[in-house]
């Protein structure tokens, strides 16, 4: 669209109030009847559904503008209020202005010189710091409120009390006097434009007295459509209901005033009218009961229509529904690339990409057209150069159509392998929640994704669904491909490191393949490498006699670049006080020299998801994202194939401890129990020494907790060191594939202390947790220490305590997700327009500077080494190792 196409360019938006004249001017009808339709279903003249408010029935011409349904924008009506009513939205502003002005002469309560000073100041502010003028206005209003005697007419000023939502009192010596809305309005009328300007209003756009309504606009009928049920019963919109109430009371008030009814009755009706007006604007106003429907449901009035998640803003204006999208259940596919997404045929046939026919693709497109909408590589529509669409669903003979297309036609063809699509899983918390994938059309009904992209999406396969969007333009596809492709997102800006990588079986597989004892025959090696897509030559076998054998490390090395050098400590590293480096007896010191894995095992620290300074991280940083994708696609498949050949399983006997180890555990736990008992007796004798900042009881609790915690740790250590060598649970815990040593200890040794709110279990009965214990028993067993292990069985009391602790965990996660979700929403709303400019500054939309250098150092965390711009240690290491050459 060029500039000349724009009918009117917008320069600024100003918000103001509607004056009564404005309302009458835009109104097409003065509404005086509370009814909508008569018995025949014809709208009543001057009623709420008056024809002049706009057409709602198709085929009808609007009585005001002559347009039909789609064209007629709807027209406002108005209601003349019998008595003025406070607009609840401005009640607070009205209060502030009443307080700051004289009730008698209507002047702003500031002495002359002060008034002039502030006038000058306001002028200056408007010129130099226009954003600050409201702050100054607040200050002026507050200052004026402090004056107790009018400097102009000398009248004593009464204090004004504001009672939410819309009542004001004047505090006289004799008692409080209620201020009626018409009195308030006449006071506001007396304010001069200059005074109003000093209080922060623009009197041309918003005179203070306009905050008290004398005329109420009635929204067009299109804004509050009535619906006809099948039974023929008309049901009116909530707003219409509310307007009916307002008119009814307004008419009654008018009649009573005309008839000269007693003041009391008039005031009652007036108040009722105020109530209806207040709820018409906001039916959740605090301090008054919400207006209800006959069924008891609260009415959805103006504020409710706009507010909140289901309101106009979040639901209809920010929320967009789109075409060319799909959603289904996801399932894993370790074979496809991380860049790919598996798409069911059914979906591929529904989603299309417009492709313009040229002389190069003409023949191909003809085939697609012939295939039609039901056979997979087909097409759904043809768009002729004149814009006419040909639906390929109906014509019997697609062959003739295919022959008739020419260069310049456009074909909406099915999704096919290699197309670029966007893939998303909610909640979209970071940029890796929407990534571009290449299409891989597959049978069955689920989206398929590589397991290594689960961490960025936070996806699993217990029923998760994901969304897919098809970019329709060449630009969109190019942008998605360059910026959003999965491989470009491996390095996360959350921390300098890869967010994608090995999980679970990949890690156990990597470990099992690369540990010292792994050796494979020629047949096995060929099998493994073929299945992982390796197309080079087998290296020289490490062992030739008596038969050819390759080590796992040799196979794992095949996917490294030939000049790759790196060292790291693996996850199984025990963190000995002095590291023996290459001589490590656990093979935990990983050394890669010239692309050969010399020592060490590959586990979580080397290939794990979210591990900075891992082999994977280094590969991507030094060789680019293509290398990263290659490594994850190919080498990771090797780990999987290997674990497939060997198998990894866990059973009950993996949780079995030898008898002597069991004895050791019970000794440790017994010792802890003794120590607890000792602590309690010291406490009972009153000899316990108080820890700083704690009471005696708290001291005892902390000490007992420490003691029991230590006992569980020791039990865990015993468990860890006494399990058999081939224990798979231990393997998984050590390599970081799944579970921790603590989980293991829970299973085999001792579950340990259960806690509620960070303390031992103390709730329950008076002085005891359960009736099984003596009152005041402070022992471990009585406060939720579980001696048993999961395998041994928990006794009913232990089970109960365990359930208490477990429940708290569940409640916590539920509460935390909602809280952090809201926090995230607010953070995003606050930061959405902020961006880093090319000069390294961080600026808002208006060019204002927020940071002079992004993050003080201008470093992109995604391209950093774990947050640092350079990793000096690694550079030195590399220089030294390269120095040999």
């Amino acid at each position: 669209m060029s500039l000349s196409d724009i009918a009117k360019a917008m320069k600024a938006i100003k918000f103001g109030l509607l004056s009564p004249e404005d309302i009458r001017k835009m109104s097409v009808v003065n509404i005086i009847t509370a009814d909508t339709y008569d018995e025949d279903g014809v709208p009543i003249e001057a009623g709420l559904m008056d024809r002049r408010l706009g057409t709602i029935e198709p085929g009808q011409k609007c009585q005001t503008c002559g347009n039909r349904v789609g064209q007629c924008p709807g027209h406002f009506g108005h209601i003349e209020m019998a008595r003025p009513v406070i607009h609840p939205g401005f009640a607070k502003t009205v209060y502030l202005m009443l307080r700051a002005t004289c009730w008698n002469c209507g002047k702003l309560l500031l002495a002359k010189e002060e008034y002039e000073k502030y006038t000058l100041m306001m002028e200056r502010y408007k010129r130099r710091w226009p954003q600050l003028r409201f702050k100054l206005a607040d200050r002026i209003t507050k200052k004026a409120n402090k004056t107790s005697e009018c400097p102009y007419c000398g009248q004593e000023q009464y204090k004004i009390k504001f009672e939410k939502p819309t009542t004001y009192y004047e505090e006289h010596k004799e008692g409080n006097v209620k201020l009626a809305a018409n009195e308030i309005r006449s006071r506001l009328e007396r304010l001069t434009d200059q005074d109003a300007a000093l209080m922060g209003l623009d009197p041309l756009l918003a005179r203070p007295e306009w905050m008290v309504l004398t005329v109420l606009p009635v929204p067009p009928s299109a804004a509050r459509p009535s619906i006809t049920l099948e039974s023929g019963v008309r049901s009116e919109d909530d707003l219409t209901h509310k307007l009916v109430d307002i008119i009814r009371i307004n008419e009654r008030l008018k009649e009573n005033i005309d008839a000269g009814a007693p003041q009391l009755i008039i005031e009652d009706l007036w108040e009722l009218l105020q109530y209806h007006i207040t709820t018409y604007f906001d039916n959740e106003t605090s301090g008054i009961p919400p207006a209800r429907h006959r069924s008891g449901r609260p009415l959805r009035t103006i504020a409710q229509r706009l507010k909140g998640k289901e309101g106009r803003f979040r639901s209809n204006l920010s929320g967009k529904r789109v075409d060319f999208s799909a959603r289904t259940v996801i399932s894993p596919d370790p074979i496809i690339s991380i860049n790919e997404v598996g798409i069911p045929f059914d979906i591929a046939k529904l989603l299309t990409i417009p492709e313009r026919i040229n002389k190069y693709n003409l023949e191909q497109m003809k085939i697609l057209i012939q295939n039609g909408p039901d056979d997979h590589p087909g097409a759904n529509y043809i768009i002729r150069p004149d814009g006419r669409r040909i639906d390929l669903r109906f014509p019997k003979d697609r062959k003739t159509i295919a022959d008739s297309v020419e260069v310049g036609y456009e074909v909406e063809r099915h999704l096919k392998n290699g197309d670029v699509v966007l893939f998303n899983r909610q909640p979209s918390l970071h940029r890796m929640s929407i990534m571009a994938h290449r299409v891989r059309v597959l049978p069955y009904k689920t989206f398929r994704l590589n397991l290594c992209v689960c961490p960025p999406y936070n996806a699993d396969f217990d029923g998760d669904e994901m969304n897919l969007h098809v970019p329709q333009s060449e630009e969109a596809r190019a942008e998605a491909l360059v910026l959003m492709l999965v491989q470009e997102q491996i390095l996360s800006p959350r921390y300098g490191g890869p967010i994608m990588g090995g999980i679970q079986d990949y890690i156990s597989g990597g470990y099992m393949l690369t540990r010292k004892e792994t050796q494979v025959t020629r047949e096995e090696a060929s099998q493994l490498l073929t299945s992982s897509g390796f197309d080079g030559d087998l290296p020289e076998p490490a062992i030739t006699e008596p038969e050819e054998l390759w080590t796992g490390k040799q196979l794992a090395s095949l996917f490294f670049p030939k000049d790759f050098n790196y060292t790291l400590k693996s996850n199984i590293c025990l963190k000995c006080p002095t590291c023996k480096k290459e001589e490590c007896e656990h093979d935990a010191y990983v050394v890669i020299k010239n692309g050969q894995l010399i020592s060490g095992v590959i586990d979580k620290k080397a290939i794990g998801a979210g591990q900075p300074e891992s082999i994977l991280h280094r590969l991507i940083k030094d060789y680019g994202t293509d290398m990263g994708r290659f490594y994850i696609d190919k080498a990771f498949k090797l780990f999987l194939s290997f674990i497939d050949t060997r198998g990894l399983t866990i059973g009950l006997d993996d949780e079995e401890l030898p008898q002597q180890a069991k004895d050791k555990v019970s000794v440790v736990v017994g010792e802890a129990e003794d120590k607890t008992a000792k602590l309690i007796s010291i406490y009972n004798q009153g000899l316990l020494e108080r820890l700083p900042g704690r009471t005696l009881e708290e001291t005892l609790e902390t000490k007992i907790m420490q003691e029991l915690e230590e006992a569980r740790e020791k039990a865990g250590e015993i468990a860890g060191s006494n399990l058999k060598d081939g224990n798979t649970a231990l393997l998984m815990a050590r390599t970081g594939a799944r579970g921790s040593l603590m989980n293991l200890a829970h299973m085999v040794a001792c579950v340990g202390q259960q806690s509620v709110r960070g303390e031992r279990v103390i709730r329950g009965y008076q002085g005891r947790t359960l009736p099984h214990f003596k009152q005041g028993d402070l022992g471990a067993r009585a406060h939720g220490f579980v001696y048993s292990s999961y395998k041994d069985k928990l006794n009913p009391i232990e089970f109960f305590f365990h359930a208490m602790g477990g429940r708290e965990g569940l409640v916590d996660t539920a509460v935390r997700t909602s809280q952090s979700g809201y926090m995230q929403r607010r953070l995003i709303n606050a930061l959405q327009d902020v961006r880093v400019e090319y000069d390294g500054t961080v600026r808002g939309t208006d060019g204002s500077i927020l940071q002079f250098k992004y993050g003080d150092d201008g470093v992109d965390p995604a391209k950093s080494d774990h947050g640092k711009a350079v990793n000096i240690d690694k550079i030195i290491e590399r220089v030294i190792s390269a120095g040999g050459k």
Partner: protein
């Protein structure tokens, strides 16, 4: 009571009122108006201490955990 010297406190960075030419140079480097800088109120304790007036631009030099030293600017406004 002895007045507390806030400028000498460890956590208070170094403040300096810029000269007119310096402001011009600053405006030029960033291509901005003075108002586009972050604001500091005249009632800020530091402003009172060094006597900054509305319209002044302050240069702040502070220690930064990531960049050792970082420089920022503030535009003094009334209030």
């Amino acid at each position: 009571m002895v007045k507390f010297e806030i400028l000498k406190h460890e956590l208070v960075p170094q403040f300096e009122i810029l000269k007119k030419e310096e402001i011009e140079a600053l405006r030029h480097t960033y291509g901005i108006k003075k108002e586009d800088l972050p604001w500091i109120r005249r009632s800020d304790p530091v402003c009172k201490e060094i006597g900054a007036k509305p319209g002044d631009v302050l240069k702040i030099t502070r220690k930064s955990p990531v960049a050792e030293q970082s420089v920022g600017y503030r535009y003094c406004v009334p209030g």
